[in-house]
Structure formats: C-alpha cells, structure tokens
Subunit: 128 residues, 4 copies
C-alpha cells in the first residue's frame, strides 16, 4: 500500500545553508498526499466543490539527513490511521535508501462551516 | 511621494547560491505595494469584498546586486503611471544606498467577472 | 522570558483555501527564533563564520485555527529545554488572544563536519 | 529547438485570490531552464564546482490568464539570444493552448569573483 512520487530539488527549494529549507518538505508531503489520493480516485477539487475539505491538524516531522540541490528524492506515503473524520499519513523523503525526513501528518475532514465531519462510506472505501 | 518599508532577510529568503532567491523579491514588492496603499487608506480586503481586485499584469525586474542572509533592506515604492483601470509601480530594493533590485509593475483593477474595470474617482483620489 | 515578534499576512503567505499555507508557519518560527537569539546578542552569521550552525532536528506542530490574509499575528518564543548541544523552542502564533498554531522545535548545534557539538559556556549563558 | 516540462499546480503554488501566486512562475521558469540545459548535457552543479554560475540579470514577465489549483501546465523554453557571457531565454506557461504567462529572462555567466565571464566554446556549443 506504499505510494511514491519523485521530487527533484532546484535552487528555490534550498537555502543559503546549502540544503533544502526545512519548511519546504511540507510542500513535498502535500504533493505526495494529493497524488496518493488522486491514485485512489479522490479528486480534492471535486471534494471541495461538494463542500468537503481536508485540513492539516498536526505534523510531527524529523530531519535525519540534509537534502541538497540537484537531488532526486522519493516521497513515500501511507495511511496509518483512518477514522470517520480524520486520517494519519506516515511519509518519508529518501535519497536512494538514505532517509532524509520522516513525518506523521493528521488531516481532518471539514465541511462548509469549518467543522469536522464524517467522511462518506464511499470516500473511506476509496482511501482504504 | 516615495514610500518605504523595511525587510530583513532570513534563511527562507535565500537559496544555496548564498543569495536571496530571485523570485522572492516579488513577494517583498507585493508587501511594499500593500503598505503603500494601506498608508493611503486603501484596504485591499475591503476592496475585494466590494468585488474589486488588483491583479499584476506585467513585471520588468532587474537584478543589480545580490541580497544576502541577515541583510536589512529597504523597499521603496512610487506610482509612476495612473490610468482609469491600471497603474504602474516603480519599486526598488536597497541595502543602504546600494541598489539591489529595480522593478516596474503594472496592476490592473478587475471586477467579479475578472474583466478590467475603471477605478472609482474616490479610489483614484486616494492613490494620488 | 517570553519573546514576541509581529507578523503581517500577505497574499504570498496564503493558499487558495483562503488561509495561511501550513508550511509557511515554519518560516515565521524561523524568523522568531532568529530574533529571539539576536535579542540575546547571538548573531547566527557570526556563529556560522566560526563554524557553528543550528539545524532543526524535529518539529511538532499543531494547527488550531486558520490564519488569514491581512491578519496581524504575534509569534511568541521561549526556550523550554537547554542541553549542551541542543535546545527546544516552544512557539505560538496568535491573533490577539486566539491561538492559531503551536509548535515545539528541537535545534541541534553542529560543527563544520556536520556533527553535533557542545555549545560554548558563553553561548549557553547568553541563551539563558 | 523548443523544450517543454510539465508542472502540476498544488495548494502551495496558489494564493487566497484563488490563483497561482505571481512570483511562483519564476520558480517554474528556473526548473524549466535547468532541465533545458540538463537535456543538452549541461550540469549546473558541475559548472558551479568549476567556478561558473549563471545568475539572472533581468526578467520581463507578462501575466495573460490565471493558473489555478489542479492545473496541469506546460512550461516551454527556448534560447533567443546567445552571447559570449550571457543568454536570453524566452519561456511560456500554458494550459493546453491557452497562454498563462510569457517571460524573457537574461542570464549572465559569472566566475568566482562574481564578475561576468565568457562561456567556454564547449559550453556555447552545447547550449546551441
């Protein structure tokens, strides 16, 4: 059930410390989650039009090794908890076998009033 | 009529070339234009609620000298053309007297249908 | 011992969900930590020249309420753990009394070989 | 001689106006130029190790139509001027046939002292 995307690192990803800026990994994790869901037939734009949004509630992230300019990284994603109105993604950024960053992210499904709301059975089935 | 804001440079502003990343100056110019207009009593949020938005149509930007981590820069703004539905900002980023970046930006006033629309006399008067 | 900086939110801080993009809070936390240290006489550029860098090892961040365009936010910082080669910052982003985001960040002091290294007594004294 | 890369738009690319933030196109143009050169056997990391860097001197950019969340865009690049120490890229961002953004960017080749320097014949031959 592991899902992976590729991510090449450009100048705009890095900082003057010579490495990938620490906030930017959260962008790659967003991209990877979106592709994970798209691969399961879940289109976030369609969901938003129907009044459902996933919002990030919590991120725990550990920086293990620096990413650098020109790196060709892999971002893996899997869902490690799934509840009626929330889910937890466990994600990693790697260069080959070397772990760069590891993170756990909790997303909550909210409705138009910005309150947590149960996902439909159809949606949960697709995510599984 | 020259307007200025201060801008300190942090890690997230720079890239691994050791200098401010070239796209980031456009962020500082956005901040400076917003403050220029706010100082003249023009609140972009209020304008948006009434259905008017300023969108950037064109930017001509020249990079004269690199900005660096820790720099305390100044961003100056003045309006150098003002028409019924558009205006041109001339802006500079400086470190002391040294010119870092110079830009001309054309903004167009659009309505809810995303078409150019004449600004009200009141708005033009404030901008002047 | 609480330290605070102001942070105004512009277009570049937000996303099309209408709120501050979740990764951007890590930029504000970087700015706030830098100013916290600068206020105690610790200049990260000088430290880097002497071969010492602080790198982020871990961030735990919780999103409590959305930040929005035009918001005037406050970012508070305090050091809640201090060891020979590392420290933990506890930081919050607030709009008035409303908590927007809360985070704990662990920074490690590394030397030119990218290995953790004990901070000097002088440095630890300043941080305290 | 036209070169193209694909670029999908995520939340982090957009702003609360509901469209791609205007500075972000400069990131896509950087990516496209890097891939253009890589496809011609020019590795910017290797060049930097030998003491040569390309820096952006000038960008003229026009915003024709908004890019939006979920868009699958194409970024095209061609070199429209080539001199001993500089070159001009003409680049476009499109959604299908619709032009989103058009830009001309001048890059200068600099050496370790940050002065413009002539590119080697070998480098110019590869770029052609």
């Amino acid at each position: 059930m592991m899902h992976a995307i590729n991510k090449k690192i450009y100048y705009h990803d890095t900082d003057c410390g010579g490495v990938v800026y620490y906030a930017n990994y959260l962008k790659y994790f967003e991209e990877a989650r979106t592709e994970y869901l798209a691969d399961r037939g879940i289109n976030l734009i369609e969901m938003a039009k129907e009044g459902f949004l996933f919002v990030v509630k919590k991120v725990d992230i550990e920086y293990k090794s620096p990413g650098r300019y020109g790196d060709k990284l892999t971002v893996t994603s899997e869902i490690t908890k799934l509840r009626s109105a929330s889910m937890q993604f466990t994600q990693e950024v790697k260069r080959g076998d070397l772990l760069i960053v590891a993170a756990k992210t909790v997303l909550v499904c909210i409705d138009k009033t910005f309150h947590p709301t149960a996902m439909s059975d159809d949606l949960i089935e697709k995510i599984k």
